[in-house]
């Protein structure tokens, strides 16, 4: 085999470092169970390691997403979800004290947005959140999920337009 495989521990560690969290997140976007998402992601890496001699390093990412998706389908399947997120920067107590109304509105907006995102189709939602939260480029998402770039672009922009429509009535809330 001429291509570099992922049996090299250094390469495997790097792939793990780069993709463990995005892979866990990807599963979370699909069904909202953080604990299980973590387990499936870990299992996908275990399988990658066990099959390392057959997977060229440039194919590792799509292998991981394919396996994770299969694990998800076999055990969980498509279902309605209600996603909840944390903020990277938590609201501080001083913010809370100095401007409680602002904090309240912000929380309301977050809740409504979570609801709207949860009502997107599974694929739209997953693609949109991979793009925004994991900061993946459309091309990266396309290879990971085996979709065309056009489909990914459509999902991201349509999701955004849909969300805007859903939140139309909050338009006058300034945050």
């Amino acid at each position: 085999m001429d291509k570099q495989t992922v049996c090299e521990e250094k390469i495997f560690h790097q792939i793990h470092k780069d993709w463990a969290v995005p892979l866990r997140n990807f599963l979370f976007y699909k069904f909202g169970d953080l604990e299980k998402s973590r387990d499936f992601a870990q299992e996908a890496f275990v399988r990658l390691w066990n099959n390392c001699s057959k997977v060229a390093s440039d194919k590792a990412k799509s292998y991981l997403y394919t396996v994770a998706n299969r694990l998800f389908l076999d055990e969980v399947g498509h279902q309605k979800v209600q996603l909840k997120f944390q903020r990277r920067m938590q609201i501080t107590e001083s913010q809370m004290e100095s401007n409680p109304e602002f904090v309240y509105r912000q929380q309301e907006f977050k809740g409504r947005l979570e609801q709207a995102i949860s009502s997107l189709s599974e694929q739209q939602r997953t693609v949109f959140l991979m793009s925004r939260i994991d900061k993946m480029k459309n091309r990266e998402i396309a290879t990971a999920l085996d979709l065309s770039i056009k489909t990914v672009e459509k999902h991201v922009s349509n999701s955004l337009k849909f969300l805007k429509g859903e939140l139309e009535d909050l338009k006058n809330i300034k945050i």
């Binding site: 470092k17 390691w49 066990n50 997120f85 920067m89 793009s131 939260i133 955004l160």
Partner: protein
């Protein structure tokens, strides 16, 4: 500004290829503000603030191809499979091991689930059966393996999937399934998808989900219904972990539709282990031996005693 152009601009802007100044020329200010409000919020999110959730050394501590790959089967989830087929092949010894060969054998008395190297397909071996493949026979061009005995395959979509045995060859292409080149009795059952089997003499048979047939004495027997039942050796198992005997017996009563009278047996004792769901005697033996409990059967009631 046409809708198409606006769309194109939004897509580029979202992917970071168009600056805020540039998109302002294209989008109404109000829309842009609404979009930015949404994106600003979502961009600040994470499913979980703890990013140190994985320990990679847990994985790489063991050499590849060992441990985690093989696990005893406990449950069965027949979902989202491109084609799942049972191949029962009467086969003599076919294997020869060499460098770069992987082999799994299900010991007598237990079935074994093996994850195949493509990461999405699995095989479950009946007790006493074995599977083997050359490591370099798995690639984007094909998936090849050899079996001896009985095996149940769940095949994920992908490159051609070929199972060989001393008596013939079975090929799954997408949702199709082909058998060719064998001499002895050959049973093919299709549980999902569609399957085509071709005998050595080119006699073909097409089986839809829920159909099975036997090739015997130069002909395919009439199709029979599988009734959706998985093969008996594939039966589910009951899993117990530190479960009180009280609960274990309740489960067994329900599974086998019998009554268990405990007598003076201490029901608070804890049992850990897996028992079959299709063999009452074996189940009772598995549970009771470890506690030194005897039992006798009268009709549909089991009486226990110390």
């Amino acid at each position: 500004m046409s809708n198409d152009e606006e769309n194109r601009a939004i897509i580029q802007w979202l992917d970071g290829d168009l600056s805020d100044e540039e998109i302002q020329k294209v989008l109404p200010r109000e829309d842009l503000l609404a979009y930015r409000q949404i994106l600003h919020e979502v961009d600040s999110w994470t499913p979980d603030n703890d990013q140190q959730i994985f320990d990679v050394t847990e994985i790489t501590r063991a050499a590849p191809q060992e441990e985690t790959k093989v696990r005893k089967i406990n449950s069965w989830m027949p979902m989202s499979i491109a084609a799942s087929v049972v191949v029962l092949i009467v086969a003599g010894v076919y294997f020869f091991s060499g460098f770069g060969t992987t082999e799994y054998v299900a010991d007598n008395g237990t079935s074994l689930e093996v994850n195949l190297p493509d990461g999405i397909s699995t095989v479950t071996l009946a007790a006493g059966s074995a599977i083997q493949w050359e490591d370099d026979a798995w690639s984007e061009n094909g998936r090849k393996m050899t079996i001896e005995g009985k095996a149940y395959f769940k095949v994920g979509k992908g490159s051609p999937f070929v199972v060989s045995a001393a008596t013939g060859t079975v090929e799954v292409l997408g949702t199709e399934f082909e058998v060719s080149g064998f001499e002895e009795t050959f049973i093919v059952a299709c549980y999902e998808g569609k399957v085509r089997a071709t005998a050595a003499d080119q006699q073909k048979i097409t089986l839809a989900a829920g159909e099975e047939s036997v090739y015997h004495k130069d002909a395919w027997a009439p199709k029979r219904n599988t009734n959706g039942d998985l093969p008996p050796w594939f039966a589910e198992k009951l899993e117990f972990k530190d479960t009180s005997l009280e609960e274990v017996f309740a489960k067994l009563e329900k599974t086998y539709e019998v009554k268990i009278v405990a007598g003076d047996v201490n029901l608070q004792q804890k049992y850990t282990g897996n028992v079959p769901t299709n063999n009452l005697k074996a189940s009772m033996k598995l549970v009771l031996t470890s506690f030194n409990i005897k039992y006798k059967t009268i009709g549909k009631t089991l009486y226990l005693s110390k």
